[in-house]
């Protein structure tokens, strides 16, 4: 439902400009960062290239697989609550319009690579000099100040250079040669970089309140992913000689029975590694005699005999469903969840009870269902007030009403493909 009551909003009054990524590599971090602001009440103006639109419009998924710039799933999800304008950032008159928008903005999210930013005068440094009150958040593969700033990157490269890819699959590798390190499904590191940029932008908002000035916030997709495996990094500096925290093959032998296992109708994920969880898991399995053996007494014993344990657990799980395993383990306070398929996620009763998935109206896509609030806010709830904008939908409103471009001028810019 598109709500029209004037509910209080957490970020009301903040003004955000989001730039499109003009690289050939899809990079959706700025779209996610700006969505976070828009969905909690900030005014977000999304700038897109004329005609082709932002990358996510091209990426689908499309209803009935029919390509359409206005109704792609990622566009409809990522751009809720935003105002949409078109500007060709390669063109200097378009950048003039952008600069007048930035005069009035609090936060800019810019996902373009440093080389492009330098060429078209959008680097963090030059923008913060020009607009001292503006918070310029650059989201780039390696960081605007990195030695690697001119290298290409993206979701795959960031995932695998961070060490996260090396640890995936988690505790499941049985053959090094045929099971290479693995990336996470979809575009996890893009969205993580978006949430990282959103958090950092709010930090800079507080800094501006305290100290009066904006600043450049340099967000690196690579380092955002590195931050996800921080325990390994700090753990290794505490050991001498430094040992790798994770061995793709050896970890199963070190950690014992945990994480993803098959059952009668799918898969479950659980942890029976600690003593308490092992005891609970035993009860869940009905206290079979084999589990009482001396060779399974401690966590280290169990890790050393993980093959035996896994075989027995496989046998047991093959007789029950994921829901049964979930219920039996949870009754003993053992962390165990079903590995949900997409359909099970869409239909599961927990999400339904909390109203997680939300439906809103869109002029051509009709009823659109999307993932909803990433966090429940009791007083200033996440909500969709407006569907994703049509390409250039708010050009007249923003360029005309707010920045005084008249119809003749707008028509000329449109004819020249500048807006």
């Amino acid at each position: 439902m598109v709500s029209r009551q004037p509910l209080p909003e957490a970020l009301e009054g903040l003004r955000v400009v989001e730039l499109p990524c003009l690289d050939s590599m899809p990079f959706l971090a700025a779209a996610m960062a700006a969505k976070s602001f828009a969905d909690f009440g900030a005014e977000v103006i999304k700038v897109e290239p004329p005609r082709v639109g932002a990358q996510e419009r091209q990426l689908g998924p499309f209803r009935d697989d029919r390509r359409d710039l206005e109704t792609g799933g990622l566009h409809l999800f990522l751009n809720t609550n935003k105002l949409g304008v078109t500007l060709d950032l390669e063109n200097s008159s378009a950048r003039g319009i952008l600069f007048s928008m930035l005069e009035q903005a609090d936060v800019l999210f810019n996902p373009n690579p440093p080389s492009l930013n330098a060429r078209i005068d959008l680097s963090g440094r030059s923008l913060t000099e020009r607009f001292p009150n503006l918070i310029v958040v650059s989201l780039t593969p390696f960081g605007e100040d990195s030695q690697y700033r001119n290298l290409r990157g993206g979701d795959l490269v960031a995932t695998h250079m961070s060490g996260v890819g090396y640890e995936t699959p988690w505790h499941q590798v049985t053959d090094l040669a045929t099971q290479p390190p693995l990336k996470l499904a979809g575009r996890q590191s893009d969205y993580l970089t978006g949430y990282t940029g959103a958090a950092a932008a709010m930090v800079a908002v507080f800094d501006r309140t305290r100290n009066g000035l904006g600043q450049h916030v340099d967000v690196s997709q690579w380092l955002a992913m590195v931050s996800m495996i921080r325990p390994n990094l700090g753990g290794s500096t505490h050991e001498s000689p430094r040992a790798p925290a994770y061995q793709r093959l050896g970890i199963r032998k070190k950690a014992g029975a945990q994480w993803v296992y098959p059952c009668a109708d799918g898969w479950v994920s659980f942890n029976a590694g600690t003593q308490r969880f092992w005891n609970g898991w035993k009860t869940a399995m009905g206290q079979p005699e084999w589990m009482e053996a001396e060779i399974f007494a401690t966590a280290a014993d169990r890790a050393a005999h993980v093959d035996v344990i896994e075989a027995a657990i496989h046998d047991w799980l093959s007789t029950i469903t994921k829901k049964e395993a979930f219920q039996r383990a949870q009754a003993q306070h053992v962390p165990c969840f079903p590995v949900h398929t997409v359909r099970e996620v869409a239909e599961n009763e927990q999400y339904r009870a909390r109203g997680f998935f939300q439906e809103h109206d869109h002029p051509t896509a009709n009823k659109v269902r999307t993932p909803g609030a990433p966090c429940g806010f009791e007083r200033t709830p996440w909500r969709i007030k407006r569907p994703a904008p049509r390409l250039g939908e708010h050009n007249r409103k923003i360029f005309g009403e707010r920045f005084g471009l008249d119809e003749v001028e707008l028509a000329r810019l449109a004819a020249e493909n500048i807006v």
Binding site: M25, L74, M161, Y166, F206, D207, L233, G234, Q350
Partner: protein, 403 residues
């Protein structure tokens, strides 16, 4: 006068443990908030025992704990005592933010749930971060990051083509959720500063993860299609994969985003004829023949030194990188130059480097302080914030209410 940190003057009473919430409060602490980590000596954070220092395990020696729990104070308070609960309630009254990630219902047991503490401090902001949120039929279940990624759909989508669902490394999504928590907390604080109103934040880690798989969810909602694992592939690029280099378990990640980039790749691999092959010349063909294409590429990468291959690919402006384990990452020149690793005195481990924030602010120098020993600041907090005298504090220690 030195510049004020952005969260200077904000006090956070942090009941969080394990990974997600402590990671969020590490940001807040490094950016100027006074974070008071409440922990129990009777049931300590198990991360304090996950790893040690130079082979010795101990509550104040955990390298993993130190990587997450910098820039805060530690108050060791055994909340099973009513007197400890009363101390916690008095601390709420002089705090701005309360964070916790206990199993649903535990804070209520201690009289520290939101309904109780808002009566003591009406503008308090409280965040609870649990696997599945505070309400709903499964709210009271227990879970960790890796089980939560399974519930949320991410695990079933991650894996090799036609193979089993794969768990994701690094206890994903703990630190991703922790990072997002910083945004949610600061958004709520921003609102409080404008209106004087606090509020309750009910975060379901699973829901947060599901906001990060929109490709699959939207495909299901539009088309009823259930996407399946695609390995390292991408729907809009090919090749997009991890290819073997010379040596055991050495790999290179390569992402090719256009036909022109594919030509450059083929030249680097010494196989220009691949680029003109009808099976591969254009993206739709490469997507259709992706497995064959990957085999062609792997056959040409597997004898080249990893770093040499990466160098050649980067020279042509291609998106490529070595697949690193943690030690290789730590040795990477650009990583070292990023100064993300910061050395401080932690617990009883002495000076050790841990990763700081992943973001650089041009006008903020984060305040990194080493992770505390358990209970390191108990006396100081009870004295300064609650005005307790030494005799009272000694009595509380004697009766094991504090440590």
């Amino acid at each position: 006068m030195t510049k004020r940190l952005p969260l200077d003057g904000i006090r956070v009473l942090d009941f969080g443990w394990i990974f997600a919430v402590p990671h969020a409060t590490a940001w807040l602490g490094a950016l100027g908030a006074e974070v008071i980590r409440v922990e129990s000596m009777r049931a300590p954070d198990l991360v304090r025992f996950l790893t040690g220092t130079d082979g010795v395990i101990g509550p104040n020696l955990s390298g993993v704990f130190h990587s997450i729990n910098f820039s805060r104070k530690s108050l060791a308070l055994d909340l099973s005592w009513p007197e400890a609960q009363e101390i916690a309630r008095r601390l709420v009254q002089c705090s701005d933010i309360v964070t916790e990630n206990f199993t649903v219902g535990n804070m209520q047991k201690y009289g520290l749930d939101y309904e109780s503490i808002r009566r003591l401090k009406p503008d308090i902001i409280m965040l609870s971060g649990t696997p599945l949120g505070q309400n709903g039929p499964f709210a009271r279940t227990v879970g960790f990051g890796p089980t939560t990624q399974a519930f949320a759909g991410l695990c079933h989508l991650t894996g090799y083509p036609q193979s089993f669902p794969c768990g994701i490394g690094g206890t994903w999504p703990d630190f991703a959720v922790g990072t997002a928590m910083v945004f949610f907390l600061l958004a709520a604080l921003h609102y409080r500063d404008r209106t004087g109103e606090g509020q309750y934040l009910d975060l379901s880690m699973a829901e947060m993860v599901t906001t990060m798989i929109p490709e699959a969810m939207m495909d299901f909602f539009f088309n009823g299609r259930e996407q399946s694992p695609q390995g390292n592939r991408a729907s809009s690029m090919a090749p997009h994969g991890v290819f073997p280099a010379a040596g055991e378990d050495r790999w290179v990640a390569i992402a090719i985003a256009s036909d022109a980039e594919f030509v450059a790749l083929c030249e680097v691999l010494g196989a220009p004829s691949l680029a003109s092959d009808n099976a591969y010349a254009h993206l739709p063909d490469r997507l259709n023949n992706v497995e064959m294409l990957e085999n062609e590429i792997a056959a040409r990468t597997r004898d080249i030194d990893r770093d040499e291959l990466v160098r050649r690919l980067r020279e042509r402006g291609l998106a490529a990188g070595p697949v690193y384990n943690t030690l290789e990452l730590a040795a990477d020149q650009a990583f070292r130059a990023s100064a993300m690793m910061v050395t401080r005195e932690h617990g009883e481990s002495g000076a050790r480097a841990v990763p700081g924030l992943p973001v650089k602010f041009s006008a903020i120098e984060p305040d990194y302080r080493g992770a505390p020993r358990i209970g390191q600041h108990s006396d100081e907090i009870l004295d300064k914030l609650l005005g307790m005298d030494a005799e009272e504090i000694a009595r509380l220690k004697e009766s094991k209410v504090i440590f």
